[in-house]
Structures are given as structure tokens and as C-alpha cells.
């Protein structure tokens, strides 16, 4: 890990925690000034590459020298805002940075097809704001700062989802729905933070935790807990609060769906973990009760119900969106086990899910780019007309089911092991049932791709049309990563384990 910590000049590396958020923010302003979409994309690409490098560098720094605490403006916490990097937010920074970079490479052809030329530069600007917001939520150690960055990313997200209106006007209502619900979620969250501030007199998370441990809990902090869980649960698409997600993913531009599906809900899920473990303590009775009776239950219901809903969809992206809700359920179940093994299985699934859903939505985007595919029946014969994309889609789809030789199997394996360790047989049964349902909905997609004949126009079958290489490369990287990390599971498992240990006090 030493080379990761050292490859940046020391002057830059010291400020990496601030720069990883500030650079996308500055570049958002620069992108807005660009005269055309191509230059806007170039700015975005450079930014995403820099962010990915910073994320790797932070990984090296944390492994080599422990938790990093960066004081903005030189004001020491708890007065000032602290950026805090430990092993829990490193996996998230890596996912957002690296998957974000791959998505941005993919963006140029996809966005060029879907968004009017005169709006592209502004679109990239909004995307970068969202990117900066997600990184900010991940890296900050200040409870109110989490709210600010959550809103920065959400407001930008509403905009970029609404940009799907060029292809389908329903993107506007989808985005508006998300705006209303997302704002309610943010309000709940900030009310919770307000209560905590009232109870502790501080906004710094570590300081809050210390004061709460000293003074104990009362009605105010319990109310704060409830508000924060509901607020962040809404953002993370926790089961009954997921209604905004299917339409938002189905009608957003393909690039946006690929990016959000692999990052946005995960960042909210991370914030939830951070509050549950680093602000509230898992040993406090109402917190530990919420694990078993809230997160595990809600997660299990999501795994089954959302998968069942996915089976009956006609729109391909809506189907995958419901599947995303089910996958959030898996993570919630892992969290609900309340053990280090469970939490690390949840975080492992978080990373693996980013790999699968990124590849799946990119492949759907490639189909949409060449053939305007939206519904499942439009996928007919894609194995003949777009073999490479169909292959990537198949690998990631199998990974979603949890077939051996893919990462989906690894994370389900760890979830099952953790559930058995806890003696939760019903959770194992729910996992199996949910995997069977996943098999059903993935089979619907795959049978259309592989079994059905390509559509014919005037008696002539559709011609083979290769996707542009800028689509193929990031898509193949993600699809192959699904296989690679099955055989070399150690890095991801180690990251997940270290993340769980960082908050469970394992080291």
C-alpha cells in the first residue's frame, strides 16, 4: 500500500481530503463555461480521473498511517468542520471515484445521443456538482455538513434525472416525485441533526458520540434517531421509502442511471451506517433493537417484495430499478445482523452491487443507443445484433442472481455465512427465495436477448451494430470485474472487513 500513499507529491497528498471534494466543485463551474458538450465532457473526465487517483491515494494513506482528520480553514473540531477518512468511507470513495470514472468515459456517446447539444455542458456541470456532493457526504465528519452535501448532490440529481425529458417526458414527473420525496427525506434528516445538536451542543460526529456516551440517551435523542433513520432511509431507498426510485431510474438518461444506481443510494446507506455506529452506539438498547426489528425485517421484506415486483415489469430499466431496491434490502439485512460479519457482508454487497448494476445499466444504455431499447421485448435478439454488449449484460445479470464464478455469489455467500453465524435461518430462506426471484427476472431479460429472433424490418433481420468503444470499454471492465473479483475476492473482502472493524471497534 506504500506506493498508493506515496504516488502523489506530499503537498497534494496532505490536502487530498479537501481537494477530492473541492476539485469536482470547481470543475463544475468550469464545465458550465464550456462552449460545447465535448469540452464539458473532457473537463468531467479529467476531474473524475483526478478524483479516482485521490481516492486511491487516500486508501494508501489510511492503511499506512491510520485515520486522517483534516480541519477545514484550520479550525479544529468540534468548532470547525472536520473531514475524516477512515476505513469505512474508503470503500465508498473508491466506488464513487472509480465507478464514476468508468461511467464518465461511457458518458460521451450516451449523453451525445440523449441530451440536446446546447445543454450538454450544463448537464456535465450538474453531474459534477452531484459527484462532489456524494464525495462530500462520504468524507465529512460533521453532521450538518452531511446534510449540506446530501442536498447538494440531491438537487443536482433532480436536475440530471429531469434531463431524460429529451427522450421521454415522463422523466419530468419522475424527477419531480423524487424532488418532493427527497426534500422530505432531507428535512427529516436535518430535524434529526437539529435534535442531536439540541441534546449535545455539537455538530461534529465524533464529539457527538463522546457526549452521548457520557450523558446517555433520552427522548430527544431517540426522536433524533427516528428522524435520521427515516430521512437517510428515504435517500437510500430503504423498502417502504423506495417509491421514488423505479421511475427516476427508468426515465433518467442512461448515463445518469448507470452512475446513480452504482453510487447514490450507497452513499446514503453509508451515511446511515455512520450515524448508527459512529454517532449512536450499537450497544444502546433502542439502536440494537432497530437492527433486528427494523433493518433486518425491512431488508428481508424488500428482498422478497421488490424482487417480486421486478418480475412483473415490462420496462427493462424499471425492472433493474426494482432489483436495486431488493439489493438495498440485502445490505439492510447485513446491517441488521448487528455483527461485524453481517456489516462487512453488507458493505461487500454494496461494492459488488455497484459492479453489477453499473455494467447492467451501461449495457442497457448501449442497447438504447443503437436500437432505442426500452422495453424487455425490445431486447429480442440482442445477442445477434450486439453480441459484446449482450455478453457483458449476461455476465452482470448472472452476477445479480448470484451464480458461482461471479461476485454476486461471493457477497451472497458472506451474507448467508453471517446469517448462519447469527442463527437466522429465516434470513437464509429469504435470501434463497429472493435469489430465485432474481433468477426469474434476469431470465426474462436473458431469454429475450438469447432466445428471441432479432426484429425484422420488411423481411430483413436487423444488422449487427457494434457499440462505440467508449461504451464497450468501461462496460467490459465492469463486467470482467464481476468475474475477476470472484477469483480474487480478497481485496474487496478485506476492504469490507476493515470497514466493519473500523466502526465496530475491531481494531
Amino acid at each position: 500500500m506504500q506506493f498508493l500513499a506515496d504516488f502523489l507529491p506530499a503537498g497534494l497528498a496532505v490536502h487530498a481530503p479537501a481537494l477530492i471534494v473541492v476539485i469536482p466543485l470547481i470543475m463544475a463551474a468550469v464545465a458550465a463555461l464550456m462552449p460545447n458538450g465535448r469540452l464539458g465532457w473532457l473537463v468531467t473526465l479529467i476531474t473524475a480521473a483526478i478524483v479516482a487517483l485521490f481516492a486511491l491515494n487516500l486508501l494508501g494513506q489510511v492503511v499506512e498511517s491510520g485515520v486522517i482528520s483534516y480541519h477545514l480553514g484550520g479550525w479544529a473540531p468540534p468548532i470547525g468542520i472536520e473531514y475524516r477518512v477512515d476505513m469505512l468511507n474508503i470503500p465508498l470513495l473508491l466506488v464513487v471515484g472509480i465507478v464514476g470514472l468508468l461511467c464518465v468515459i461511457y458518458a460521451l456517446p450516451s449523453v451525445g445521443d440523449e441530451i440536446a447539444e446546447n445543454k450538454q455542458a450544463l448537464f456535465y456541470s450538474a453531474f459534477l456538482v452531484c459527484f462532489a456532493g456524494l464525495l462530500g457526504v462520504t468524507i465529512t465528519g460533521d453532521a450538518f455538513n452531511v446534510f449540506v452535501f446530501l442536498e447538494i448532490s440531491s438537487i443536482a440529481t433532480y436536475t440530471i434525472i429531469a434531463m431524460g425529458a429529451g427522450k421521454d417526458r415522463r422523466a419530468l414527473t419522475a424527477s419531480y416525485n423524487y424532488l418532493v420525496l427527497g426534500t422530505i427525506g432531507a428535512t427529516f434528516f436535518v430535524i434529526g441533526v437539529g435534535f442531536l445538536y439540541m441534546a449535545t451542543g455539537t455538530l461534529n460526529m465524533a464529539d457527538m458520540a463522546a457526549i452521548l456516551e457520557e450523558t446517555g440517551h433520552n427522548r430527544v435523542t431517540q426522536a433524533a434517531f427516528a428522524f435520521i433513520v427515516v430521512g437517510l432511509g428515504l435517500k437510500a431507498a430503504m423498502f417502504p421509502l423506495h417509491v421514488w426510485l423505479p421511475n427516476a431510474y427508468a426515465f433518467a438518461p442512461n448515463f445518469v442511471t448507470a452512475f446513480l444506481a452504482s453510487t447514490a443510494t450507497k452513499v446514503a446507506f453509508y451515511a446511515l451506517i455512520r450515524f448508527l455506529f459512529s454517532v449512536f452506539h450499537p450497544d444502546v438498547s433502542f439502536v440494537s433493537m432497530s437492527f433486528t426489528w427494523l433493518f433486518a425485517v425491512v431488508g428481508t421484506i424488500a428482498m422478497v417484495v421488490a424482487s417480486l415486483q421486478a418480475v412483473f415489469q415490462t420496462d427493462a430499466r424499471r425492472l433493474l430499478a426494482y432489483s436495486s431496491v431488493a439489493q438495498v434490502g440485502y445490505m439492510m439485512l447485513g446491517l441488521g445482523m448487528g455483527t461485524a460479519a453481517g456489516l462487512s457482508a453488507g458493505i461487500l454487497h454494496l461494492m459488488n452491487h455497484a459492479l453489477m448494476k453499473g455494467a447492467l445499466f451501461m449495457a442497457l444504455g448501449a442497447f438504447a443507443l443503437n436500437f432505442g431499447v426500452r422495453r424487455i421485448k425490445d431486447l429480442a435478439g440482442m445477442s445477434k445484433t450486439m453480441p459484446a454488449s449482450a455478453m457483458a449484460f449476461t455476465i452482470a445479470g448472472l452476477s445479480l442472481v448470484g451464480v458461482p464464478l461471479t461476485v454476486g455469489f461471493t457477497s451472497k455467500w458472506y451474507l448467508v455465512t453471517a446469517a448462519l453465524e447469527r442463527g437466522w435461518w429465516w434470513a437464509v430462506a429469504a435470501l434463497m427465495l429472493s435469489s430465485l426471484l432474481a433468477l426469474a427476472y434476469v431470465a426474462r431479460l436473458l431469454s429475450a436477448i438469447w432466445m428471441d429472433a432479432p426484429p425484422s424490418h420488411h423481411g430483413e433481420l436487423s444488422q449487427r451494430r457494434l457499440a462505440p468503444w467508449m461504451v464497450l470499454v468501461p462496460m467490459s471492465v465492469l463486467a470482467l470485474a464481476n468475474i475477476y473479483f470472484f477469483f480474487h475476492a480478497d481485496p474487496l473482502v478485506w476492504l469490507a472487513r476493515a470497514a466493519a472493524d473500523a466502526v465496530m471497534g475491531g481494531n
Binding site: H15, A18, I26, A29, A32, L33, Y70, G74
Partner: protein, 152 residues
């Protein structure tokens, strides 16, 4: 003889005063209530009043939408640029962090750097807020045709 003569004359009188008041709120932000956000709204209001009285076309000529777009980005660049400047101006001694205004001026005794820093940052806020207010106004007002004078 143009209609709304009184409105035009009075608002021509008021608009410079509104801008001056906006600048007062901006520069007094250090010592009292106020600051870049409020000042930005007040200055944008001056242009919006101008647009209400003299029409959208006149307002667009005075403050073109391109200027608004560049202004919105420029404000963010000023704000973040101050932060980058504090990193770059790190002299000898303890390395300072992002947005540590003390780097901006060597006079640590009176914290002159802190004053410079907050003024510059607020200037960035002012630029972005007033530009975004105008951008929102232009976007909404530009959607419908101006009300013809007969319908007043």
C-alpha cells in the same frame, strides 16, 4: 408619451439605491447581519424590478443571459479559488489548510488575512446568488409572452 410614467421615473430613482443598499449589506456583512447571500438577492432584485417596469427585452439587453451564466460559474470559482489560493500561498512554517484565510496576508496580529478571506468569499457568494436569481427569473419570465399594455 409612454405609459406608466410615474412607475418608470420612480423605479429609475430606486434602482441605483437598491444596488447601493445591496453593496452596503455585502460589505457590512463582516460586522452585522448581512453578507453575500442577502446582498446577491438584493442586487438581483434591482434587475428584476427593471425587467418588470421596462420589459424583459430591455433587461436582457442590460444584463444578458450569457453574463448571468458566466456570473454563476465565476462566483463559485472565486469562492473555491480563495481556498486554492490559501493552499498555494502557504509560506514558510506550519502548512495551512484549505480555506485558512490567514495565508492571505502576513499580518497575523490583526488577522488581516481573515478579513480579506471572508470579503473575497462573500464576493463569490454575491456573484453566484445574484446570477442564479436572475437565471431563475429569466427562465420563468421568458416562458410566457409579456403582458401587452392593453391588458393592464
Amino acid at each position: 408619451m409612454s405609459p406608466h410614467l410615474i412607475l418608470r421615473v420612480i423605479s429609475k430613482l430606486l434602482i441605483p439605491l437598491i444596488v447601493v443598499f445591496g453593496l452596503y449589506v455585502q460589505f457590512h456583512g463582516d460586522f452585522g447581519p448581512g453578507g453575500g447571500f442577502q446582498a446577491g438577492v438584493i442586487i438581483a432584485v434591482a434587475v428584476i424590478l427593471y425587467a418588470l417596469i421596462f420589459g424583459m427585452d430591455e433587461a436582457r439587453r442590460a444584463v444578458p443571459p450569457t453574463v448571468v451564466r458566466y456570473g454563476a460559474a465565476a462566483g463559485v470559482l472565486i469562492y473555491a479559488g480563495v481556498g486554492i489560493a490559501t493552499l498555494l500561498m502557504n509560506g514558510a512554517g506550519e502548512p495551512l489548510n484549505f480555506l485558512d484565510y490567514d495565508a492571505l496576508h502576513p499580518d497575523q496580529g490583526h488577522h488581516t488575512g481573515q478579513h480579506y478571506g471572508i470579503l473575497l468569499v462573500e464576493l463569490g457568494v454575491l456573484t453566484t446568488v445574484s446570477s442564479v436569481m436572475l437565471a431563475i427569473f429569466y427562465a420563468f419570465a421568458g416562458r410566457v409572452p409579456d403582458i401587452p399594455d392593453e391588458e393592464w
